[in-house]
Symmetry: C2
């Protein structure tokens, strides 16, 4: 029996083969995300992986249903596995925003699900780091969220040479649009063309823009000029003050496909252009109001960063550490008469925070030592009785091969 | 729009009301589970929350479907949200066991789902700490897994006064049964009666046992005598050697409802008897073979511990710490001309691992200080320019109210 297509098993390293994923690498990434978010004062939240289908159609319209893992449950409810976290966040914030001082700074690491029938072999789930600031209009918040994004990647040892944040503005594009077209109904189609500009054949884009009443060269000229809006300039200055100016550049090719962005938008890319976007986000000042049925009106902004592209990038750049069980001590039990006392030593070492391994059953000394080496243990510890009946522990550092003879209490503290 | 019934939102503390759950308490429990498992040399794994329905019916029969969140997906597959982790573990181990030295010691913290239509108001999901040892017959492994269970609860500050592990043996009951009944077909019904013995009216149990050809007093006499099997005695001795003897007692009332246990079984209970079982587990030597269609035959044992009862117990015993954002430094920006340089200081403090907060927008000094107090920040830091134009940082410890004046580089290291 195999797992479902598009889903992943996560195994401890070393991995049995390339068909499975590393639980250790996943935790390494999660820890970097979590610790960086905390340093920035973000608090963790979580919601249910299953939500009413309506939560997602309210935000994204009925078209999204084709991409969802949606069902009718035994209570006749239309439900869906979450394809993104923002609707849940908006629901949670709207329900209890009064209990929290603004701005609210929250993060989560949800597993998200999409059922796309046509894309065989593609993943149907991934984990995504979501960080959002709710209740702050000032571009200082946009700079803060982008700084968090940068530092989350730096925590994984990625540098200015590895990635760049392409910074853009929905407002800049809205202004561009308004100066050239008086029919707001055309704006959605216009943004879709801009969103595809880099990937699409220029003649196709030119024709599409012509049809809508825009000029291709006018559009590309606007992109090339890269004139920051006053708001973007404030974000740039803020990041420069933090010493992070080298990680960002204005790039109006970025517009973000989703309809709900209202201000600064951004995407993180690897500098070699080998991978899809590492992360993306922006300001969505009207969404909380929409999702709360008009009850709560709070400006908001945030980003999402998935684990899949990021892991590919870290692998390609050789930035994943070698993972093992991190065994501090392998306890050698060479005299079975000392097994009970060795178990006591093992318990005390573990109580002192050490990772301790040993053989459950009698095993020849050389086999035990071999196992300690296989586990990449830092030390071995062997309990012995001295001539006068007292206990002593021989502690051997497996890197330096240096051996120390210690008292029992001393050994627990010294390893 | 509300969340689905039986699902939980997890909010940062302090919580807005009692209707929601604490993301901080959840992480506190997860961290205790994870760090204890690691000290015992257990490695983390994970599988998909969605699996083929067949994975669960193979293990538990078709009756389980009534309790599952099961669906047909857009590819016409019968699938289910996982109600337990063991089938996924067995599937994963069977697929790649050759790559791992035995015994395999693995743990996971999956979210599990059950749809029980009749039980309104009860949760339909919970998180469960799963730890298992695969490939070891020796009772030393049973003792190791029970020691891990005990230490996971001790890591949350629960003591011998708070909980006890009730230890039993399927083999002891099998022997009891075989000595009194020659029809193995009756064994399942017999075990079900034993499983309910403590909760059921004695006259009902007596009648049921009579019908099956057993004597009620004979059964209760066997339970009261509590004679450990040789295997259980080895587990008891092993735990006593570790200094954990006070946490366990033989109690043959425990038999575990599930059909697949084969040896030592156990459950953890609060000593006051206020709550349902905190955890339960045992040896299931035939399951990996069953789940792998006979391909892989490995002995196995493990336990599961849910987050819901545990959290209730920790609350009742006053053992949950007070959670906050853990802010190390609130950076006061009283002179807007120093905002850019303050942002630099903030970035450096965060790079040094500190949790740093500040106001995104200009705010009166007393309001900033008030916010620092609300956040329970350990320190405030205020960047200033001295008469000769150099920077200095005034660092104030908010507990002692002691203030120090430090150089810029010095401040980053000193907080």
């Amino acid at each position: 029996m195999d797992r479902l297509p598009g889903f992943r098993d996560f195994y401890p390293e070393p991995l049995p083969n390339t068909d499975v994923w590393s639980a250790d690498a996943r935790n390494y990434i999660f820890n970097a995300w979590r610790s960086t978010a905390r340093r920035y004062g973000f608090r963790e939240y979580d919601g249910p992986p299953l939500e009413p289908l309506e939560l997602f159609t309210t935000k994204s319209g009925d078209e999204i249903v084709g991409q969802l893992y949606n069902f009718v449950d035994k209570g006749e409810r239309s439900i869906s596995l979450r394809p993104e976290m923002t609707p849940t966040l908006a629901r949670m914030v709207a329900a209890h925003e009064r209990a929290y001082k603004k701005p609210i700074k929250w993060f989560a690491i949800p597993q998200l699900f999409r059922y796309e029938r046509q894309q065989k072999g593609r993943l149907r789930e991934h984990f995504q780091f979501n960080a959002d600031i709710i209740g702050e209009n000032d571009p200082a918040a946009d700079a803060e969220i982008i700084a968090l994004l940068i530092d989350s990647l730096r925590a994984l040892k990625l540098t200015e040479d590895d990635f760049v944040i392409r910074l853009s503005s929905r407002q800049a594009w809205q202004q561009f649009f308004a100066q050239r077209c008086s029919d707001p109904a055309k704006s959605y189609d216009f943004y879709q063309i801009i969103d595809k500009l880099e990937r699409e054949d220029p003649t196709v884009s030119r024709t599409k823009l012509d049809k809508l009443g825009f000029n291709y060269d006018d559009v590309t000229g606007f992109i090339t000029a890269s004139q920051p809006t006053p708001e973007l300039q404030r974000v740039l200055d803020n990041l420069a003050a933090r010493g992070l100016g080298g990680f960002v550049k204005i790039d109006y090719n970025v517009i973000r496909g989703l309809a709900y962005y209202t201000g600064v938008v951004f995407e993180a890319f690897d500098k070699k252009g080998e991978f899809r976007a590492i992360a993306g986000g922006g300001r969505y000042d009207n969404l909380v109001k929409l999702m709360s049925g008009g009850k709560v009106d709070l400006p908001a902004l945030g980003f999402g960063m998935g684990d899949v592209v990021l892991l590919e990038l870290l692998k390609a750049r050789g930035l994943l550490p070698k993972f093992d069980a991190g065994v501090d001590v392998f306890c050698l039990i060479e005299d079975e008469a000392l097994r009970a006392d060795s178990l006591k030593l093992i318990t005390e070492l573990r109580s002192a925070g050490k990772v301790v391994e040993y053989s459950f059953t009698p095993l020849k000394p050389d086999k035990q030592f071999k196992r300690a080496m296989e586990l990449n243990a830092a030390n071995t510890a062997r309990l012995e009785r001295t001539a006068d009946g007292a206990f002593q522990v021989k502690v051997k550092n497996l890197k330096t091969r240096e051996e120390r003879v210690l008292g029992l209490a001393e050994a627990v503290g010294a390893i």
